[in-house]
Amino acid sequence: MSLALQARAAARICYFNGIIPLWRQPLLMGAVFLTPFSFLFFLYVIAQRAELPFGILGGVLFTVLFTGNGMLNDCAYLRLERQLQQIFVVSPVRPLAYVLGMALSELAFALPALVLFLGILATVHPFGLGALALLAGVIVLTWLMATTLGFLISTFFRQLREIWPIGTLVFSSLSVLPPLFYPIAAIPAGWRWVAFLAPSTFAGQLADYAVGLPAAGGFSPPALGSPWFDLAGLVGSTFLFALAAMFLSRWREP
């Protein structure tokens, strides 16, 4: 099957695994939106209003990162519960087309929540088109990173029940603990490097930079405070997870 047909296969998978379910069960949109919005609500109630833009950006990135959790659960569900991954393996569809199609369908689920969060952000903390373009880049890289990680993990388990806690653990660690909902300045200067152990911190820092939120000073070493460092970190992590998914994930059972 040609590259164009593989691309069409990915688009069709997105259509029937993402758009049709959303159309038939719009409540799915609410489920994606609810958790990050709850965080934001509590931040708004208990934190200083000045830090609200961080919380909204946190909502954006949480939503994007949780496409990875969706990917993990969806792929595992289709493979283990419905045995449907088999029909794609035993077909002309290449693994990349399947993964891209599934990842696009997760993005389709997340898109309404993303638009809403970006709309709120634009109201609370106006930003220009250049910032939106940068933010879109961060969102795309984070989405690729999260979904490839989700797919990779999904292929290693034989029971659905084993997967549920793993997804929550991994993606909550990536989205709640690192400085996404709060400024990195909230972490003591000497410990900020720890935040970069989670690749999502790169995305958070870049997103803050994109919309002009104040960056924290006092990084040690100082290079940790540079957006180029964040960009390299995010691109590198995405590349690494994509490579891992390509070479380590199990398209065929061992």
């Binding site: 045995q83 088999q86 035993v90």
Partner: protein, 305 residues
């Protein structure tokens, strides 16, 4: 021409202690354009064989070639020619049967118009018309299975793996599916089918294999398998006779309140007289494939009932 050839195919699954051998040096060749049935008990190795041949699972040793390509080394070359009905598969939750068939054809690279035409043909052939636009979560288990089978058979793939395709279907639906499978074979597809319905294997397959404990015990036609019993007639007695009366004439087993005797044609006259004399109700028929199967896998008919 051979469509599939397995040579010394073995598969070990890891387990606590030592590995469990699911396939043990299986040799098997299937001709192109034929329907071949795999019979065996649960865990006999049927699905393992199908999964390896269909590029879903790696073997421990041995090889399988499909249309001349090694399934381990060249999976991308064989996959476009394959399609599978997975064992205990279930369709997508939100999609209708019509969407399942059409979308799967499009995913596999069919042109839009061709996908639409083949979808409508398959919906009609599988009797899915009244349910074609209902989301699958509203359909019964049998209709969901029919949807899954329809989307795979619509592909017209040169090699079709059907792992228990009619599981959970009513007798009418099974016959509809059989007809569509026969049509696929007439159109040139090679079909490897597993089933626990022995009548299905008999109705559909030109040849079958019985697998037990990872070994192929038998390969040939259903008729030849039945003849391995060396008893052609099945007599069923209700009342009037005892097991001891029948035992000298062949193999006897109990089927609820009846006694079943597998015997030779020559014994029928004498046994008919015995039944008349004792006032026993007796029915006569050919031995079934199931009886031959039970005998072959070494479980014994008595134990099997």
């Amino acid at each position: 021409m051979e469509a599939l050839s397995a040579v010394h195919l073995s598969k070990d699954y890891p387990a606590r202690g030592r590995p469990v051998r699911a396939l043990d040096e299986v040799d098997l060749a299937l001709e192109k354009g034929r329907l071949f049935a795999f019979l065996g008990r649960n865990g006999a190795g049927k699905t393992t064989f199908i999964k390896i041949a269909a590029t879903l699972l790696l073997p421990t040793a041995g090889s399988v070639t499909l249309f001349g390509h090694d399934v381990v080394r060249e999976p991308a070359k064989v996959r476009p020619d394959l399609a599978i009905v997975p064992q205990e598969g279930r369709p997508f939750f939100h999609l209708t049967p019509r969407e399942h068939i059409r979308e799967y054809l499009l995913v596999r690279g069919a042109a839009s118009e061709s996908a639409r035409d083949r979808t409508e043909q398959m919906v009609a052939a599988m009797g899915l018309g009244p349910y074609a636009d209902e989301p699958s979560y509203r359909l019964s288990g049998g209709l969901q299975q029919r949807t899954l089978v329809a989307m795979i058979l619509a592909t017209r793939a040169p090699f079709l793996f059907l792992d228990e395709p009619t599981l959970g279907m009513d007798p009418f639906a099974r016959r509809q599916v059989w007809e569509v499978i026969r049509e696929a074979v007439r159109a040139g597809s090679t079909v490897l089918l597993t089933t626990h319905y022995l009548d299905e294997a008999e109705q559909l397959s030109e040849e079958l294999a019985v697998i037990e404990g990872g070994h192929v015990l038998y390969r040939g036609t259903a008729e030849a398998l039945r003849s391995t019993l060396h008893r052609e007639v099945r007599l069923q007695f209700t009342g009037g006779v005892t097991r001891d009366d029948l035992a000298p004439h062949g193999r006897v087993y109990a089927d609820r309140d009846r006694l079943v005797l597998l015997t030779t044609r020559a014994a029928v006259r004498g046994l008919t007289e015995l039944a008349l004399e004792r006032g026993s109700e007796m029915t006569v028929g050919p031995v079934t494939l199931e009886e031959a199967f039970l005998e072959l896998v070494g479980r014994g008919i008595e134990e099997g009932t």
